[in-house]
């Protein structure tokens, strides 16, 4: 194999941060080279340098052995380097063909667009690389996985040889991710080379030919997947041993904290999203709500926390009826809520960390004396929480929006868990976070459980549910189909329940599958 791309000693400094520190990287022809690192490790900066968005302070880039300088993304494309962005750069109301030819239009005599010619070329590419797509469909009608294929076709249309995938699976379902890995294989079989940026350990082990781990702007090392396992990669990423398995003691459930009875909730379009749901959570236990996204978990959590109207049913918090009360009453009754969408609901991004840390308590003493906010106390509080919860921020006055995703989530966790609480509602608490942050947040949730807090954990990550929960409730089409004690839950069984199989059938099927694998 020959190297198609080589980075030598790439260094990039931002004020106060050494984003890339003498990074060396070699990409072999026809290989998938995974770049693994936590959020903020410098992966994206490195790729932006390669893609011409930044200029390196030091170092050189070689393509096919020739030193090159990349001044802009279009420059990069001309040199055969293409990037599949995490957020797609597609125009929803254009067709696939129009999106692909945008900026590189096929023209007929007289300057008219030649859509047919472009469409033919797209079909050719899609056959060659197994990228199934209809050139005439509109982007807005396509599922996310197919939109990503269009992004890849865009690059191949421009004859890119080196493809950079920036966290490509973040927006995909597990099935779509598997499809993507197949596509990556068919690309590399035909001599395209791929740089695969991710922080998901399982994925790199599945598809990469070589894994380079970056931490705090430095290359920690490169390993072959055969020589590595998740634990090793995780500790390389984080710089210390990481517990992928939690040590979790047995729950000691106490009295009932939250009681939900026959709850009916509709969404904004008046569709029934939560259908006759009942459950209870006791002091000191974690109830996990498993389910595929969109089966009513979001609405259930919103209804409990007072953010959505309840149509029928009752919610009792420590015996008190809180069914139709506002989020503020719910908070004041001693509960905390880590919302599903941290940027939409959990934070005011342009506000400083300090203000976000008092978002739910700003009107209470000691922060408010009458109507006047005691900012010096808020600042003290912020500085303490930044320390206690290890929030990585330049200062407590930095806008929350300029922190990394993991640190944004830590701001929310710090705010919600620093209050005395009886009940914690955590919705997707680790979505999109890196290993270190996930470990930290999981430990915090377990710590609260052991202190006697009742925890409702809604998550679409089955692993997370299995690791943390003491009991698992599975939601399917708005109903809770079964509540299973953690000891009896297997991944197969819960997975089948999530897919809508009835508990009896699921049990027999799961046992069968188990027997076959044994």
């Amino acid at each position: 194999m020959t190297s198609v791309l080589e980075l030598r000693g790439i260094t990039k400094r931002f004020p106060g941060v050494l984003a890339n520190d003498h990074i060396d990287l070699t990409l072999e022809k026809g290989a998938v080279h995974a770049l693994l690192g936590e959020n903020g490790a410098g992966k994206t900066t490195l790729m932006n340098i390669l893609y011409g968005l930044y200029q390196p302070d030091e170092g050189e880039i070689f393509v096919d052995g020739q030193p090159i300088k990349v001044h802009s993304p279009s420059d990069a494309i001309r040199k055969g380097i293409g990037m599949v962005h995490q957020h797609f750069m597609l125009i929803p109301v254009f067709t696939v063909t129009e999106n692909v030819m945008l900026g590189e239009e096929a023209l007929r005599l007289g300057g008219f667009l030649d859509r047919n010619k472009a469409a033919k070329k797209i079909l050719h590419i899609s056959e060659q690389y197994n990228l199934e797509v209809d050139p005439d469909s509109y982007i807005k009608d396509l599922p996310v996985g197919v939109q990503q294929r269009v992004e890849i076709i865009k690059l191949l249309y421009r004859k890119a040889n080196i493809l950079i995938f920036d966290e490509p699976t973040a927006v995909l379902t597990p099935q779509e991710a598997d499809e993507l890995f197949k596509i990556m294989h068919s690309l590399t079989e035909q001599d395209k080379s791929i740089i695969f940026i991710t922080h998901k350990l399982r994925e790199v082990l599945a598809v990469a030919d070589l894994i380079t781990v970056i931490r705090r702007g430095k290359v920690i090392g490169s390993v072959k997947p055969a020589e590595a396992d998740q634990k090793k990669l995780a500790s390389m990423m984080v710089g210390r041993d990481v517990k992928l398995e939690l040590d979790k003691g047995k729950a000691k459930p106490g009295e009932v904290v939250l009681q939900v009875e026959n709850l009916l909730v509709t969404d904004d379009a008046h569709r029934l999203e939560v259908d006759n749901v009942s459950f209870e959570i006791k002091k000191g236990e974690i109830l996990g709500i498993a389910g595929i996204q969109g089966n009513g978990q979001t609405e259930l959590v919103e209804a409990i926390t007072g953010m959505r109207d309840v149509d029928e049913g009752k919610i009792l918090l420590l015996g008190r009826n809180v069914t139709h009360l506002s989020p503020r009453v719910f908070t004041e009754a001693g509960s905390a809520h880590i919302p599903e969408d941290r940027q939409r609901d959990g934070l005011v991004l342009p506000f400083p960390v300090m203000e976000n840390l008092i978002l739910c308590t700003y009107y209470l003493p000691p922060y408010a004396e009458g109507p006047v906010i005691q900012w010096h106390l808020a600042l003290q509080n912020a500085e303490k929480l930044v320390q206690d919860f290890d929030i990585r921020t330049p200062s407590a006055l930095t806008p929350a929006g300029s922190l990394s995703g993991g640190n944004q989530q830590k701001v929310i966790v710090a705010r919600e868990l620093s209050r005395p609480i009886h009940l914690l509602i955590a919705a997707q608490p680790t979505r999109g976070l890196d290993v270190g942050s996930i470990e930290y947040i999981h430990a915090q949730i377990l710590k609260r459980r052991d202190e006697g807090v009742a925890v409702l954990l809604a998550s679409t990550e089955l692993d997370e549910i299995m690791q943390l929960s003491d009991r698992i409730a599975v939601m399917y089409r708005g109903r809770i189909t079964a509540i299973v004690p953690a000891e009896e839950a297997t991944k197969e069984y819960i997975g089948l329940l999530m897919a809508g199989i009835s508990p009896e059938d699921a049990k027999t099927q799961a046992v069968k599958k188990h027997e076959i694998t044994v």
């Binding site: 004020p15 995490q86 203000e355 944004q408 999109g432």
Partner: protein, 384 residues
């Protein structure tokens, strides 16, 4: 949403002040707690944009003056040098007039100080003080829009609220009799504020309850206010002895105190405006109410999550914004001859544009900087 930190770093990368960047930061700038934030803009950078805006305005204005002056064409017909000289001469004269219109003539001021003629002293210093008088309603109106911006409402209908505030203040000013000034004047101011607040309440309520966009609704409310004013000035509020659409004169007990004898009209309103500017700043950045308003304005979902009453705060914001606009209207009445008359729409439309720009800065900075830029506009109108 991952790797945000990496993506954000380059924003602080360059220390050079870039105009667009400073402007955006200015818009996003929340507040500083008496401490200097890391990488925060210096005062020089903050005032750079206003200065550049004024300079650009002067340059463009100069070009217009040159192109619209006949002497310049004639001079260019003679020779290029003469043309150039005349062009510069015309622009210089125009801007000298602009300056003396806004700030007064320094030579005349010095001469007046050494002369015993008191009237001459007042006349010499009047342009500067008159600028302060003129700027007072603008300060209020700018505060109105700025407060709305912070709370997420785009109160483009300040004009209508100005009209209503002026009408209610005038009405209380002439119709309520027998009160001492200490009660009558605050009452008239309050009436102006309440009038504006009521006019802001309607679109605020519509936005909160029905989602009706305040830009559309306030613009419609503007026209209702204009026509209402037309009707009142030709009907119920018409001065009995006059043939013009003018209201009766406000009673002396509701006149705002002036500091100097005529012709200087400089009055207490200017200092009230400054005090209110500080009050708005204090409200927005130091109190829980302001925290509510700012949170609702920046992220309504998070405000709901935090237990704030989003509808109430939208309505409150429109009412407060309307009240400030109403005070602008009140000051407009006192600036003129203590009567309410039809303001020509062209003038008011012209006023709106600088508001929108200035509204993005913090209230205190706003009120001071605003004075100078507006004065140059008014000064130019005066000298043309």
């Amino acid at each position: 949403m991952t790797d945000q930190e990496e993506n954000k770093i380059p924003q602080d990368e360059k220390n050079k002040p870039e105009i667009g960047k400073i402007f955006l930061e200015e818009i996003n700038n929340q507040f500083s707690h008496g401490q200097k934030k890391k990488g925060h803009r210096t005062i020089g950078q903050v005032i750079l944009i206003p200065i550049l805006a004024v300079v650009t305005g002067l340059i463009l204005g100069g070009i217009f003056i040159i192109f619209t002056t006949e002497q310049v064409y004639t001079a260019f017909g003679q020779s290029f040098g003469a043309g150039l000289y005349t062009a510069l001469d015309v622009v210089t004269k125009a801007y000298a007039a602009l300056f003396t219109g806004a700030f007064g003539n320094p030579a005349r001021m010095i001469a007046a100080l050494s002369s015993p003629d008191q009237v001459e002293v007042r006349r010499a210093f009047n342009p500067f003080l008159e600028s302060l008088v003129t700027s007072t309603p603008y300060i209020f109106a700018g505060l109105a829009v700025a407060l709305g911006f912070r709370a997420g409402v785009f109160n483009i209908g300040a004009e209508g609220q100005i009209f209503i505030g002026a009408i209610t203040a005038t009405y209380v000013g002439y119709s309520v009799t027998g009160l001492p000034a200490i009660i009558h004047l605050p009452l008239a101011l309050l009436a102006g504020a309440l009038g504006g607040a009521a006019w802001g309440f309607i679109p605020g309520w519509l936005k909160a309850k029905t989602g009706g966009h305040e830009v559309i609704n306030t613009i419609m409310m503007n026209y209702i206010a204009f026509r209402l004013s037309d009707w009142l000035l030709t009907g119920p509020m018409k001065r009995p002895e006059s043939f013009n659409p003018v209201s009766p004169e406000v009673l002396p007990s509701a006149w705002i105190p002036q500091f100097f004898p005529a012709p200087i009209r400089f009055h207490l309103g200017f200092f009230i405006a400054l005090a209110i500017a500080y009050l708005v700043y204090w409200l927005l950045f130091k109190t829980t109410w302001g925290f509510n308003l700012r949170t609702v304005g920046t992220n309504p979902s998070a405000a709901k999550y935090a237990g704030m009453n989003v509808s109430f705060n939208i309505i409150l914001a429109m009412c407060l914004s309307g009240a400030l606009a109403g005070l602008a209207g009140t000051n407009e009445v006192w600036r003129s001859t203590a009567t309410w008359r039809w303001l020509s729409p062209q003038v008011t439309v012209l006023i709106v544009l600088p508001w929108l720009y200035w509204a993005t800065t913090t209230p205190l900075a706003w009120s001071w900087l605003h004075y100078y830029s507006v004065r140059s506009v008014v000064g130019r109108l005066g000298c043309s």
